[in-house]
Symmetry: C2
Subunit: 311 residues, 2 copies
């Protein structure tokens, strides 16, 4: 029997690409532990190489199946892929978590795939403050692609577009999805549009409607028109084209555009942290701050000053 | 010719219920002017009597028509009604603003109705920081009902529920609206549900689905099950029942529950102000704060500290 050597520090194991070290780092970051800070710094120093893709779409659009198809396609090209699945929607729905577990089992044996799901919800309904550090860890862990998948509900889909390099919006031919997306203003967030389940009737019409709608927005010669692609994710159809379109958008952004997206991601993280702290500070302060505002005894502006000055 | 007396101060005219003074106060509050503060304090001292109802629903659900019908019904009962229409959605859509203008013309001659529309968007996609002061002014201006109408897109519908006493969610029988609302988790925000355009096929089925879905959530003997009502707003059908359901919810909340809602509204206002200031502070600070975080030179936590300490 050989005596075990001294334990290798977590930071070194993380730097060496040990998947268990990554999992541990994520757990630390998720719970907001101090111990995550050196790991996050190490991750950020190496960030900026991964393609950070957001995938969003309404419940039932098949975006999890599509993400799964992207994993398979990218693995076929030898790429290492990390997926962070976030479900900040209703506590009613538990389906996404189950699906993630099935997916995790499927890729369990492949060291080139890392899947993690977070079921947390931010204070304002969008991504929670802890999502961004986890994303940063994945970005710095040496994956070629990092996919952030979230159900397209409320604030979360706007948030996803704010924190990724590219956003893929998944729609279906059913029920005027295209027109709804246009009316609801979510087409603006998409860099690539996939009309999934394109073997259902109405797919061509949906594609036409989406393309027509794109022409209505303000645009000039430099405007990126999100490619509208047909996919049948369950059959693996159209996924190569999706990857191609994402890379075309990456070329369109260029180094400068990608730098801006990374900055926007950092801004989002800092701002959610600030929000989180203000919220905690408000809880620690005398409990009747808001009641005093509600009764007209205190200006809302004065209350905001009080929170920002630390009480 | 008699010499005009000295001008009556705005505050006195606002207190006396002069609609032009209210309009001026709203303009001041909307642009964040200091002059709005005494008016806001005066409004808050008298607040708490109005029924503050949020009306939200997807584009095309007919919520503007329904709001219009509610105005007509409430006027028939001698109630004074203010409507604040907010469209924080896509810059693509201009329809809501046009509709508001038509509505404003319709009620122009009736001193018991006040309509204002705001086309502003908050930093995080929801209600802008200036919506709440405007709401407070309307609440304190002596109206019996204050209706906040917003398109049900993203964060704005969650926000509306956070700032009103009661939330009316408007759906249609078309395209599985009910199931979508359930899946997307927005049913939770509704205190009253209207299946509008109930003369279209599928209305009864949608009502049944919504009622069935309600039973699935966690509930006990004190849970308020949002009444699911059929309306045909364009014909004025079902509006009396909607008003009745809102008042039933008001009775259910009681003085304590309404006090809590008013506090939540104040909390929301203070928090959006804090967010707004942090945003401004971040802009004033050396421009590369976020870039330094993106490059890994600065912790996101340290950046948040810097913003909160005033730099």
């Amino acid at each position: 029997m050989t005596a075990p050597g001294p334990p290798v520090p977590l930071l070194d194991r993380f730097r060496a690409g040990d998947p268990r070290a990554l999992a541990r780092a994520i757990t630390l970051a998720e719970s907001g532990m101090e111990g995550a800070r050196p790991l996050l710094r190490a991750a950020r120093e190496r960030a900026g190489r991964a393609v950070v893709l957001g995938v969003t779409g309404s419940p039932g659009s098949g975006k999890s199946t599509l993400t799964d198809g992207l994993i398979a396609h990218l693995r076929g090209e030898g790429r290492r892929v990390a997926v962070l699945a976030v479900d900040p929607s209703s506590p009613y729905s538990g389906g996404a978590i189950l699906g993630d577990r099935i997916r995790m089992l499927r890729w369990h044996a492949d060291e080139g795939v890392f899947v993690r799901s977070l079921a947390s919800r931010g204070a304002l309904g969008g991504l929670s403050p802890r999502t961004l550090p986890v994303l940063a860890l994945l970005e710095g862990a040496g994956f070629d692609w990092v996919i952030l998948e979230t159900v397209g509900v409320g604030q979360s889909e706007v948030d996803v577009a704010a924190v990724c390099d590219h956003t893929l919006l998944v729609l279906t031919p059913a029920g005027g999805d295209g027109v709804q997306a246009f009316k609801a203003g979510i087409m603006e967030i998409a860099d690539v549009l996939a009309v999934n389940k394109a073997d259902l009737p109405g797919a061509d019409r949906t594609v036409r409607e989406l393309r027509a709608a794109q022409g209505l927005g303000a645009h000039d010669a430099h405007t990126w028109f999100a490619p509208v692609l047909k996919t049948v994710a369950s059959q693996g159809e159209g996924l190569a084209e999706v990857v191609e379109a994402v890379l075309a958008h990456r070329a369109h952004l260029g180094e400068e555009g990608l730098g801006e997206r990374r900055e926007r991601r950092a801004e989002f993280e800092v701002r959610t942290l600030v929000q989180d702290r203000v919220l905690r500070r408000a809880r620690e302060l005398s409990g009747d701050l808001y009641a005093r505002v509600a009764r007209g005894e205190l200006d809302a502006d004065a209350a905001a000053d009080e929170l920002l000055s630390g009480g």
